[in-house]
């Protein structure tokens, strides 16, 4: 699975587990409008750390939380490359 498909599949799984209605996922979707709250994103980051062995948010530099889903995926894709 690619980084992108892993992220998307985790989002769907968490939406079911947390009983959230989520919007149709596309790269321009602002995360604020996705139907996920900050706790859901915390769960997503925890799962992705397990799946991908990556946590871009705990790196030494302060990272702004991404605005759109595309930014979020790009952050993980970049982390996977380095």
């Amino acid at each position: 699975m690619t980084v992108r498909s892993t992220i998307l599949s985790e989002i769907y799984k968490i939406a079911v587990a947390q009983k959230r209605d989520i919007s149709t996922l596309h790269d321009d979707l602002p995360l604020m409008d996705s139907g996920f709250d900050s706790l859901c994103f915390a769960v997503l980051v925890a799962h992705l750390e397990d799946d991908l062995g990556l946590d871009p948010f705990s790196s030494a530099e302060e990272i702004e939380f991404p605005v759109t889903l595309g930014d979020f995926i790009a952050l993980y894709e970049n982390a996977a490359r380095t």
Binding site: A17, L39, A42, V43, V45, A46, H47, S58
Partner: protein, 243 residues
């Protein structure tokens, strides 16, 4: 088998909790700066068939090292289901005479460290779909005790932490509770005079002091399935000292 991290699990209450949890069927990772004869003896019994009681040395006042500790634990043991924040120091003394560094280091170990350790281990519980955190507070966190102002502040802090975190992670199936022991016979209270201990016992409803095993039983209860609908509470185990 559910894995539980018990800080300060090398002696005193922490060791009592670790042993009780192993007996109840959990796999326990005890953390302290150094092992003890008592812990090694308990490991010999617990690990006879399969390893159930592990020890990892770590100085929990090294806040910056906690992320790496958790990473190492995850790599070695996989998902962690529970955390017992038990390690603490109980330095006593008149506040006006206390050194500022001593105040800071006590708050660091008793409050900052368990909060940071919870932060990192929560990840594992979130990904695992549930979990348990038990914070060891103390009755002095709400009754007060002369000479223990800093220590009491750190123990009261754990109660506020417990309640807010319980609200934050409840919807993920993670419970967060505190236990508040009364005075126990451990190294922490070894300098207390016997007459003082007798007074505490006399003033308690049950006319005795609670023992390590009583508090360990309370922790085991909060860890277990039977406590699935209990979160954000303070379970006082003090033989009726504060009623």
């Amino acid at each position: 088998m559910y894995k539980i991290v018990v800080t300060g699990g090398s002696r005193g209450l922490g060791l009592g909790i670790a042993v009780r949890l192993v007996e109840a069927g959990y796999e326990v990772i005890a953390i302290a700066r150094k092992s003890t004869k008592e812990l090694v003896a308990a490991q010999e019994v617990a690990n006879r068939d399969t390893p159930r009681l592990h020890f990892r040395a770590f100085d929990l006042s090294d806040i910056d090292g906690i992320a790496a500790l958790v990473k190492q634990l995850r790599a070695e043991f996989g998902k962690v289901y529970g955390l017992v924040n038990n390690a603490a120091v109980g330095t006593s003394g008149i506040l006006s005479n206390a050194r500022v560094e001593q105040i800071q280091s006590q708050i660091q170990l008793n409050t900052v460290s368990p909060i940071v350790l919870s932060k990192f281990l929560l990840r594992s519980m979130m990904a695992g779909g549930g979990g348990r955190i038990v914070n060891v507070s103390s009755i002095v966190g709400f009754t007060g005790y002369s000479g223990l102002s800093v220590y009491s502040a750190t123990k009261a802090a754990m109660i506020g932490f417990t309640k807010s975190l319980a609200r934050e992670v409840g919807q993920l199936g993670i419970t967060v509770n505190s236990v508040a022991p009364g005075f126990l016979d451990t190294e922490m209270t070894s300098e207390m005079e016997q007459s003082h201990k007798d007074t505490i016992a006399r003033r308690s409803a049950l006319r005795r002091m609670p023992e390590v095993i009583d508090v360990a039983n309370a922790v085991e209860f909060l860890m277990g399935e039977k406590a699935r609908n209990i979160t954000g509470i303070v379970l006082t185990v003090d033989a009726g000292n504060t009623v």
